[in-house]
């Protein structure tokens, strides 16, 4: 199994290096940061000094080699905007997004499993139809719009929740609710689909025949066997959740990695953009490995 994880890590490292190369050259194309960070009337010497200080006077391929060799010694460069280690800036913003994403994902997965299983228990019933429409609506809603409508209704209209920022528990409710919507909608459909086929299998008939309780059959027997595809989809959605986090963090002023990313791109803070990408990519890799391990725990047939 360690060999398997090692192989996965090797593949991921290649992907991440490809990504970093791409981003390195792309961000360098956006223009000269000295135009943004120095006063408009600053002299040519001052610009050159700024470029030299930040290593921007070198040819771009030398900059890239320098970047890679620094990376090996865990030096991610300096943030131009905040004048400290770029990795520090990225890691500081990371927990806020991680908490948001984990809570949203856990809640939406749990809720989706419950509702999807209930819907699959009686296909075609009223509950099933309502759950179907609600989940489709959840998967189709533009998250930025529902966030704005939420602010309009609950913050401006009713005054229940604060419009943006962090601090109290109330600040968490709207961002999490908005973030949950899409994974919830997609997962309910996956759970329902796999549950319906699981409930049609012979071992369910056996369980019925020996007089087991219905609830125990659904949640104990069928659900356990249909969880595997659900976990795969949930893992894929974890990557997509970062997309949602960018939008949600921008709207609710959440000091997470998505907001940091947008701010850094706009302010040409290259080092921070690269380290946020690296941190995100590593987090996604860890999630994928965790899902693979969860597979082994849930399905004794799978061995790596």
């Amino acid at each position: 199994m360690f060999a398997y994880i090692g192989r996965r890590a090797y593949h991921s490292v290649i992907s991440v290096i490809g990504l970093l190369t791409l981003v390195f050259f792309l961000t360098r194309l956006t223009g000269d940061p000295s135009a943004l960070y120095l006063p408009l009337d600053s002299s040519l010497e001052a610009r050159q000094a700024f470029a030299k200080l930040n290593g921007l006077d070198q040819p771009i391929y030398l900059q890239f080699l320098q970047y890679l060799s620094n990376l090996l010694s865990l030096d991610f460069g300096q943030s131009l905007r905040q004048n400290r280690s770029a990795l520090e800036v990225a890691l500081e913003a990371f927990p806020a997004t991680l908490q948001l994403a984990l809570i949203a994902m856990t809640l939406s997965t749990g809720l989706a499993i419950f509702i999807g299983a209930m819907a699959a228990a009686r296909p075609g019933s009223l509950f099933d139809r309502v759950a179907g429409v609600v989940s489709l609506a959840g998967a189709s809603t533009p998250d930025f719009w529902i966030a704005i409508v939420g602010i309009l209704v609950f913050s401006v209209g009713l005054g229940l929740f604060p419009t943006s920022g962090t601090g109290t528990a109330l600040h968490w409710i709207m961002p999490i609710a908005v973030l949950m919507l899409r994974p919830f909608g997609l997962l309910v459909q996956v759970v329902r689909g796999t549950m319906i086929s699981a409930l049609a299998s012979p071992y369910i008939k056996t369980a019925h025949a020996k007089g087991m309780k219905r609830r125990k059959i659904i949640f104990g027997h069928a659900l356990r066997n249909s969880l595997l595809p659900v976990i795969t989809v949930a893992g894929d959605l974890m990557t997509g959740l970062v997309n949602g986090a960018v939008v949600v963090e921008t709207i609710f002023g959440w000091p997470g990695i998505g907001k940091l990313m947008i701010d850094s791109i706009i302010q040409r803070d290259f080092a921070v953009v690269q380290s946020t990408i690296l941190v995100t990519a590593i987090a996604i890799f860890v999630v994928n490995i965790a899902i693979d391990l969860l597979y082994v725990a849930l399905d004794p047939r799978i061995r790596y």
Binding site: A137, P142, W145, T280
Partner: protein, 305 residues
């Protein structure tokens, strides 16, 4: 636009039978009607109300919706420059749907072609293609799109390219998986034995069989691309003025939430209804295509429950 593609690819039977299935599912019927109206609006609307969408009116600034005093075109209110929202929605629909359609088509053809190559050939470039798909898949698409758009500058062409690239892995993987299975079939060996070149086998013999699957995925992907485009436009890196899409309209209205909620509300609702209709139709099409589910639409009245 999309509903017809779903219909034509998912069904071996005739159109009349499909129409009957459609009337059996009320929700899918509503979705189809909505999409039909939307397509008619997109095709003919800009001819009728195109001028109104850019017409400034100081009197109508932030006009509240549901009043007919200024004429029917102001039924949904007006924005901060007094332009009627209904007219802007119709013109915005054209841009939104055009971008999404172009992106999905590019993604399908380029991704499909790459997938065909990756599935048929064992050379080094097949591995490069698959690695590429992995890199794109393993990273949040919105972040990648933001970086690329900020670098290349936001324009309609770049937006289409970026959206197409972020959706490509799905097509690459599906096409590859199909080819892996198809290339073992007898007709491929037959073509080989008659001396057909690899290119001919791939694009003349195998591609036509892969295409229906890809079209189906494209139809389902359409809603996702609309959502992705509007997110980018909302964040300000999508389409730039004077052009606008629904997402950009929501962004414009965001600053006036407490005074004029309708500016941001209607375009978002339009996005929601469009993507929801597409998804409802896709799920209906899945039911029609699945023999073990189709009875729900066939014998609804005689069903015991």
């Amino acid at each position: 636009m999309t509903d017809t593609t779903v219909v034509s690819t998912k069904s071996p039977g005739n159109l009349h039978q499909l129409a009957i299935y459609l009337t059996r599912d009320k929700l899918a019927l509503c979705a189809a009607i909505f999409l039909f109206i939307l397509i008619v609006c997109v095709l003919f609307g800009p001819l009728l109300v195109g001028d109104m969408a850019g017409k400034l009116g100081l009197r109508q600034r932030n006009l509240a919706p549901f009043s007919l005093d200024q004429g029917f075109i102001y039924i949904l209110g007006a924005d901060t420059l007094g332009r009627p929202i209904l007219a802007r929605l119709i013109v915005g629909a054209q841009t939104t749907l055009a971008i999404a359609a172009a992106a999905v088509c590019c993604s399908m053809f380029v991704g499909g072609a790459l997938g065909l190559i990756a599935g048929y050939s064992e050379r080094w470039y097949s591995h490069v293609i698959l690695r590429l798909a992995d890199v794109i898949m393993s990273f949040p698409s919105l972040l990648l799109a933001l970086i690329v758009l900020y670098t290349l500058g936001p324009s309609m062409t770049n937006l289409v390219i970026v959206l197409a690239i972020t959706r490509m892995p799905v097509f690459i993987r599906t096409a590859r998986a199909e080819v892996l299975e198809l290339r073992e079939r007898m007709f491929v060996s037959a073509a080989l034995s008659m001396g057909a070149s690899s290119r001919r086998i791939l694009f003349r013999h195998i591609a036509p069989l892969v295409l229906p699957t890809l079209v189906t995925i494209a139809a389902i992907d359409f809603a996702t691309v609309i959502l992705a485009e509007s997110s980018l436009s909302f964040l300000g890196l999508g389409i730039q003025p004077p052009n606008f899409t629904w997402g950009a309209m929501v962004a414009n209205g965001r600053g006036y939430l407490s005074t004029a909620w309708w500016i941001a509300f209607w375009p978002g609702l339009a996005i929601l209804l469009t993507t929801l209709s597409l998804n409802i139709l896709a799920s209906w099409a899945r039911t029609v295509a699945d023999p073990s589910q189709r009875w729900r639409l066939q014998s609804l009245r005689k069903a015991p429950r």
